[in-house]
Symmetry: none
Subunit: 203 residues, 4 copies
């Protein structure tokens, strides 16, 4: 076959594998199902990925990583006002969060919970993504401080960690309930806290 098809095969595999892993978890996903949905044969899969683990790692790095950077990291990289970015993110989430995200939670969080304790390769790749995420927020906070939009006495790294933790924790509660209530309930408190990060003169 032409290289085109090879690429397409690989991408189809990644996409469907992501869907399955997102929906059922890595261990509960079966290669047979992924193969059936992609209409790819086992030989082809094992040509592109040496094992189920390799496939999972590729999903993590390429699919979940890309999604994380696009929606959770880039907004911070492009701004020097973390409070504004977060305020808007929260507003968006409470208004129009896709059904899937509500019911199935955060793809990264899911994989982290399932695999961090028992599979070191996954653990490391996930940690790298978490570091990237936390780092992007911290950097944004530092730029915010330089621009006078964030209080000087705030610990940028602490904010990065805290924001990611709250995000992951709320996603977990939301996924458990299957609705957005926990986010809605906590929202005013979150906005208050965000407000408290601003310098006095702006308050």
């Amino acid at each position: 076959m032409s290289p085109r098809d090879a690429v397409r095969t690989r991408e189809a595999l990644l996409e469907v594998a992501f869907e399955e892993i997102y929906r059922r978890g890595f261990h509960e996903s079966s290669l047979a199902d992924i193969l059936a949905r992609t209409e790819v044969t086992k030989g082809a899969l094992y040509h592109h990925f040496g094992s189920k683990e390799e496939l999972g790692l590729a999903v993590l790095d390429e699919v979940i990583g890309a999604w994380l950077r696009e929606y959770k990291i880039r907004p911070f990289e492009e701004s020097d006002d973390p409070v504004a970015v977060l305020t808007q993110m929260i507003a968006q989430e409470t208004e129009a969060l896709p059904e899937r995200a509500v019911k199935q939670g955060c793809p990264l969080g899911n994989m982290s919970q399932e695999l961090s304790a028992c599979h070191d390769a996954f653990r490391q790749h996930i940690e790298a993504l978490y570091d990237e995420w936390r780092g992007a927020i911290a950097s944004c906070v530092r730029r915010g401080q330089a621009a006078g939009k964030v209080r000087e006495d705030v610990d940028a790294d602490a904010v990065g960690t805290f924001v990611v933790a709250v995000n992951q924790g709320l996603a977990q509660l939301m996924k458990n309930q299957g609705n957005i209530e926990p986010v809605a309930t906590a929202q005013p408190l979150l906005l208050d806290w965000l407000h408290s990060l601003k310098p006095r003169r702006e308050r």
Copy 2:
């Protein structure tokens, strides 16, 4: 056999099943391993629990529920000062968190992530525990407000939800890294936020 043995058998099963589920997740836990570790036979297990699911549900309700009430809920029920309770909890955690909790995260959070999206019976039992937890914190906040130890304008339910979310989110990050750093990093911010819940005159 005497009924005493039956009780002991059941408890041994629950305890070992909890260990396995906590370590490997529900789906990855094998009844054969649990049986081998407890030195109980399949027949005996099948007598006490009709299925793996029933066993898992019993672990959730009886083992994890008991642990949650003991360590995460009771402190709030016995106090009218949520800020003090949380401050002490945080201090304890940063000082002496058991290795297992660091590496394997929160038992409730783990089950929630693995099963909320795909198994409604588990989802409901887990939701009940989360509700109990959030409710206990909210009640404590209300008592704190009545006692003048918490600002009147604070939304008690929001605090309950927020505290649980932060706890679960930090546990997730901690489990991923395998060390306590995320909690340590976020700690000053958390203490600040807690401080901000107190009435003006106390600050």
Copy 3:
């Protein structure tokens, strides 16, 4: 408990066991289901019947045997006109056969098919019932011949065997289709054949 209860327990077991065996076959019936439906415990069952086999044999002898004698044998014993008896039987069947008999076939035939080849104890008990049945018809034919209601040149034993075979064969076709069509289709032919058994002068 009083002997009353013991008898009642035994009968409840027999009745429910018959239902299960009739519906699912002997091998596919589970003691657990029978126990659940009768609300009897395993200890009680093993007190009355030493094994699953003994229970099945008792169902065969007492429940199925009684049913066979009542509906398939007694009518022949009380008559000296086999043609009339059969004519009425056929009429009854085509008019008002219970749903269960149509869908599940003949209890005796079912057990015979399932167990004759692989379980000699059952085989012998079933053979005894078949012999009783065939014999009753043959005797009736002989009485009919003595009374001048059946042709003298007819082989009574052949008629007994033939009638039972047709009955069992049609029950099998009926059970397969789930409706009465095969009986209805074959009925005219059967009546013709019955008619041919009568002496010339009666025809």
Copy 4:
């Protein structure tokens, strides 16, 4: 492996599965035994047949269907004299019926009794075979009538149903007793009945 081996594997599986199902019934047949006898592994079986049910259905359609067409249907299709065909069949059976057929009955009848009431997929496939069989006899009767070898007033469909029912019923009695006696006993009656189907002038 070469595709030839695949075909051979599949056929070995079908043949041995037929033997086991014929001897023990479908539910009592164990895949493990079939695998052991064919020297095929579980993986290979799972490749060819998705489940035990699929294997059973294939046995029914391919093995039993082929046997039925060869020995029970084709003779009627190739003739316009149903009385002659049946007369010869009966003669053959009473003379030289294989031991296996005597002890184990009719493969189709066995499956029908076991599965018609509880498994609709099997029921339908079996019904199709019965229809084919009954239809072939009825067609033969019609050709016989056209050729003047069968009385015009005979209902061809009734004959088809009746013949199949008698065949199945006698097979059942024979299987139960483990000997040919019921067929031998009923034989004269059967031949008489067959004779009565012929037109007057031929009698």
